[in-house]
Symmetry: C2
Subunit: 246 residues, 2 copies
């Protein structure tokens, strides 16, 4: 029977539910951003047992009166100082091996977030002088708990979503050049991409996803580059952003 431990019917069954031993439930966040030509994730250094001194994903407990996605967004805000709900946040997977935390049984619902490059650059990670740092996902330190695996799963999800959802734009400023966009894909997919074919795919696809910003050009050391913006053509199907669920 649903919600019943041993498929037993008892008259007082609706009181039993709270008598069973309960695990702790946390959320852990894989916060991605693009910085200095690298895909980076935000990590915090642990101050105490277990895994004292090691780096770990930001996270925390889910409050009893709080939705899981709300806990994830709260943690995101606490960790980055970004209050707005405009940061991409998606539930990743739930990890719950009995021995993943030596203290007690802890089940963690992992989320991943995407910070636009310009946002994370303005950010003061660890403004309280705490040990909070961006790490390249291809050069991670030894991680606490099963966080290595969580990041691997997050990276895998990010990669696979890259070419069938417009998720990439959540890592870029509102306006960007074609080269920036291509570099983003190149960094995440970890392989070279043909300049022209990439551009064609983006601009001349059946349902166009980006459009040129009129009279907007990025002036730099060489020929000015056209600026593009993402176009949401009537609400795109995102994975899961604001609410709780896909």
């Amino acid at each position: 029977m649903t919600e019943q431990p041993e498929a037993q019917d008892t008259a007082a069954a609706h009181y039993d539910v709270s008598r069973y031993p309960r695990p702790s439930v946390t959320v852990d966040l894989v916060i991605f951003t693009i910085g200095e030509g690298q895909l980076r994730a935000l990590l915090v250094q642990r101050g105490q047992w277990p895994f004292a001194g090691m780096w770990a994903l930001p996270g925390g407990f889910v409050h009893l009166d709080e939705a899981i996605h709300a806990a994830a967004r709260r943690e995101l805000g606490e960790e980055t100082g970004l209050a707005g709900g405009d940061i991409y946040l998606e539930q990743l997977y739930t990890f719950g091996e009995p021995d993943r935390d030596p203290r007690t049984r802890v089940i963690t619902v992992a989320y991943f977030a995407l910070l636009p490059a310009d946002v994370s650059r303005r950010l003061q990670p660890g403004s309280d002088a705490a040990a909070v740092r961006w790490f390249s996902v291809y050069d991670l330190p030894e991680l606490a708990f099963d966080h290595q695996r969580i990041i691997a799963v997050a990276l895998s999800r990010l990669r696979s979503k890259l070419d069938w959802t417009p998720i990439a734009f959540r890592l870029l400023p509102e306006q960007f050049t074609m080269t920036q966009l291509r570099n983003l894909y190149s960094i995440i997919l970890d392989r070279a991409l043909d300049k022209q074919n990439f551009s064609k795919r983006m601009l001349h696809s059946r349902t166009p996803v980006i459009e040129a910003v009129p009279n907007a050009h990025l002036t730099g050391a060489h020929r000015p580059a056209q600026l593009y913006r993402f176009v949401q053509e009537g609400r795109y199907e995102w994975g899961a952003t604001g609410g709780d669920g896909p």
Copy 2:
């Protein structure tokens, strides 16, 4: 800080972890099968408050010393009588709105399972004369909790995985005709599929996924149909079956 509620460091922090209020954690199962030309899901009728008399997904508590995927597989065995680990089982999503269960805070990790048509046909659902039944996913009764939504998410996941993973074969017997396979896709995707093009896609794809069984034909009312089988060409990348994780 990870695993800490308020990002505070205290000396006795490793004792604090178990003092915080903890939610109950369950697993709920969306068990799919193909029966009588329909995509069906297994439901159980609730005997008590809350939602007494209504239909719900099979599920139960995660034991404290038990991995989540182990709990899901245990429930699958209890509900279907199938002990083997050869049934496809994949973590779907974690639902945890504070009010989704009127008894107390219950977070549920939803899984979906795929039963081959021949297996579910041999099955005695509700052998203990309990109210356990297969329902067409396109004609569901009113459901308890947020189970309607869980099924919707499961169906969506099943559909999207259909054409980039060999997940369909987990719903068919080991050998099947091309028409059976096409009907399966047709039922799940809820649209007609061209006979020849479907066959071509299956047989002449770059990495072939099925192969003809030599000298095996299904004899019926008309021309005998070739039997095919799935070919795993060196361990395919499944979503998540046995272990815990994608």
